[in-house]
Symmetry: C3
Subunit: 343 residues, 3 copies
């Protein structure tokens, strides 16, 4: 699906990624392939030695790899320190995401009190409410709704059908994927006898620059003060970010993570898919959570944490699960045996 109209010579690519080229500089490639299945006009990368065996058989025009790996092939290669990073940089050259034209689509409904930059693109059927500001070359895909007093920074792209409630501020060069909802009410209710009384959520949502938000992810507005996502944070699809959460610079949350209210995630944390936290806890910078880990207490220093049980054949698992429920008694019986034996 990559745009085959885009073609680059190996010399151009080498310069783009700062690699050393071994091979014909004038050779053109028209996209990126996987080592095992690349066409002859495609470029590949080899980032992990365990795929070294595929190198011999590849049809690729050239391969991005390290100095050391380069000795294993006669093919044209682009030699650099970090092939994966170089691949990321090259992938952007072949980006097939359609570019949006400047201007406001005639079907969009833009409030006269909103401010839209002449560089910006407002897609079909968008709604931009009063006092919203759409900066620089920001792009709103079709069907986006931008609430009152929102700000969308220059170079930021909202794909189709993103919803921003009022008072949501997005920095520069962010990407928000379709179905993302920012600024919905935090889940705040006070019990009154058996009933729930709604707590108006009077804070907002603030995203820094270079933030990425996945499809159908929800980031709630703060109850008092803002929910804050700092610069460079990347959040995958279907994540839940509750009110007054703060996520530190460059942290990464994979799909279906769920962060409860007022939790503070440090910088450069990495949360694998389905990880989550209870509310009102803090993670230090650099904490890593393995898949589906549930954080129930603050974590004061960097390190990796886990929870859950390993997968097992169901029949065997059922027995282990029953034993889990007897675990406290097993521990007591074990201690008793030890005591008996020591006596």
């Amino acid at each position: 699906m990559e745009d085959r109209e885009k073609r680059y010579t190996l010399a151009q690519l080498a310069e783009h990624i700062g690699a050393r080229l071994r091979g014909p500089g004038e050779l053109e490639v028209s996209g990126i392939g996987a080592l095992a299945s690349a066409r002859e006009d495609q470029l590949c990368f080899l980032a992990d030695k365990k795929h070294l065996a595929q190198l011999a058989a590849t049809n690729a025009a050239a391969v991005i790899l390290t100095e050391q790996m380069a000795t294993a092939t006669e093919r044209p290669v682009l030699i650099c320190g970090s092939p994966y990073l170089a691949y990321a940089r090259v992938s952007q050259l072949f980006d097939c995401t359609p570019q949006a034209g400047r201007g406001i689509h005639p079907s969009a409904v833009v409030h006269p009190g909103a401010t839209v930059s002449g560089e910006a693109s407002i897609g079909a059927n968008c709604v931009v409410e009063s006092d919203a500001v759409i900066d620089g070359a920001a792009v709103l895909g079709p069907g986006c709704v931008i609430g009152e007093r929102c700000r969308v920074g220059a170079g930021t792209r909202l794909h189709a059908n993103v919803t921003l409630y009022h008072d949501v501020s997005i920095g520069k060069d962010c990407i928000l994927h379709s179905g993302a909802v920012l600024g919905g009410d935090g889940f705040g209710f006070a019990p009154d006898g058996g009933n729930w009384v709604r707590i108006a959520q009077n804070g907002g949502v603030v995203l820094g620059d270079n933030v990425s938000v996945g499809a159908n992810t929800a980031i709630d507005r703060g109850a008092i003060g803002d929910t804050v996502i700092e610069d460079g944070v990347i959040i995958d699809n279907l994540c839940q970010i509750a009110h007054n959460v703060r996520i530190g610079r460059n942290s990464a949350l994979a799909g279906t993570c769920a962060i409860a209210g007022s939790a503070v995630i440090g910088a450069n944390c990495t949360l694998a898919g389905g990880a989550g936290t209870v509310g009102h806890i803090e993670l230090a910078d650099g904490v890593h959570l393995t898949g589906r880990t549930m954080v129930t207490k603050s974590i004061g220093q960097k390190g990796a944490w886990s929870s859950g049980t390993p997968m097992m054949p169901s029949a065997q698992w059922r027995r282990a699960a029953v034993r889990f429920s007897q675990l406290d008694s097993m521990a007591r019986r074990l201690a008793e045996l030890e005591k008996k034996l020591n006596d």
Copy 2:
């Protein structure tokens, strides 16, 4: 982000929440702050004794607290039995959610066979299908789609981009957040050899009054008969409510809960984030599930239930996880040792 145009005197606030005022009745506040960071024109609340230490240092104009806490400060205070509930009531006075004007936006597509109250507000780019009824002062945000024969009760607000399929009935004074989808097909398929034959989902969805539904939550229509959410139920973001589920009055489901088909949740249950149930089970009134608890059997009386394992440093967790898979054998070996020792 709160609306600083709204200002209330302490006397007005005391009357609104039924509190006893100690301090100058004519003093005005313009919003609510947190104890630790409030501006001098903001009101605070103190609901938990563990934050009592912050009381001395606050800049807030006044604090909502209990009789007993009031002795710890000389500041103006609003004394009441339940500061958290009082805070909820005050928060609504400062609600910054934009109010919608009456009437049908010219870009909305309303079927001539639909009935829209003169008090209602239909936002830009909404679609209202045939035989739908939008009652009283209901509000549809931009981009909502209301299917055939739906009913939206007076005072109910659908935020932007909510989708109701056909035959969905919403009571009065409900709030549905953006991206919520009500009335999609329940996941019903009959196996036919290796293939799946779709079971038409011919029931509907019925929400009572004062129900809250979070962003990107899905509530499926019933297969036979309706999926029912009773009065006062509050559901957070990204929850999955399958076909023919019934959730009893005033129950609360935090983010990413998932209730499988035909499950019946009693009244006043509280499900913490990520909790869920298998299908066809019942929870009694007043059941509490801790975060991520998976209910696999009916629970016949109120009480708190849990599942899962605690978080641990990953290295340590890996060892425990291996042992989990040996748990049945450990239990047998333990029993054997006991037998030996008793012999």
Copy 3:
């Protein structure tokens, strides 16, 4: 909510499902009810012997059941080998989903470079981008956005507010529910010091025929090559399908399943609610995962797998959870005791 206008005689229904009728062929029914609560003009089915007791008391006009069950009642019955499958077939006769009229709604924004079949239905406020193809009697509900170069096959229905990015190909007779997002960027970023460099996701998404996708489910586009969902796959609400995943023919994923990048799910797998996998693993054909199972390694042959712990009263669970964290030490102590006793 079923369409009571639709009426069928028992003779018609028997023919439709290939059942043997015992009772009056001219008797009309107008819908399907549950055994316990059916009206006198409704049909029921009895698929599980455990509900046999309800048969005596039902008011239903007739019941679909097996030869053997039929001996337990004097009522009109439709006798067949698989009552549940027969019910599925009859349910479609009473399908209450509104049919869409042909043609392009005047409010839709269809790019002149798109191709829309004369049989297709394009709902209000849809956006169809350049070079998209909408085939045969495909239906786009209101508010759908179809990106450049997408293809929607004949007979496929997208309910309201579905988003397809560019280069998404949907086969024939698929159903996509509201809020589904197909073709969003896979979560691919390369670390560069503390920062993340976006990897352009230049693959697409390909769905076969007869695929069902639930509300608010996200299926990401591939990084290199496509994300592929084969014919007959059924996916429930709020599922996350990451980039370059492949799901084999007729597999079923219940609500909130999450499949990480490049995982390959075989054919005829069944994943119960909340199940998931890490990336780059393979499941053989016919694997079954129980609710919330987390797959961390490839599974090479069919069979059922589980993970997690059983639900317990919270007080008891807390003790077991503490013991879980001591499990490795318990195992060592147990081994030591065994050694002592053997010595």
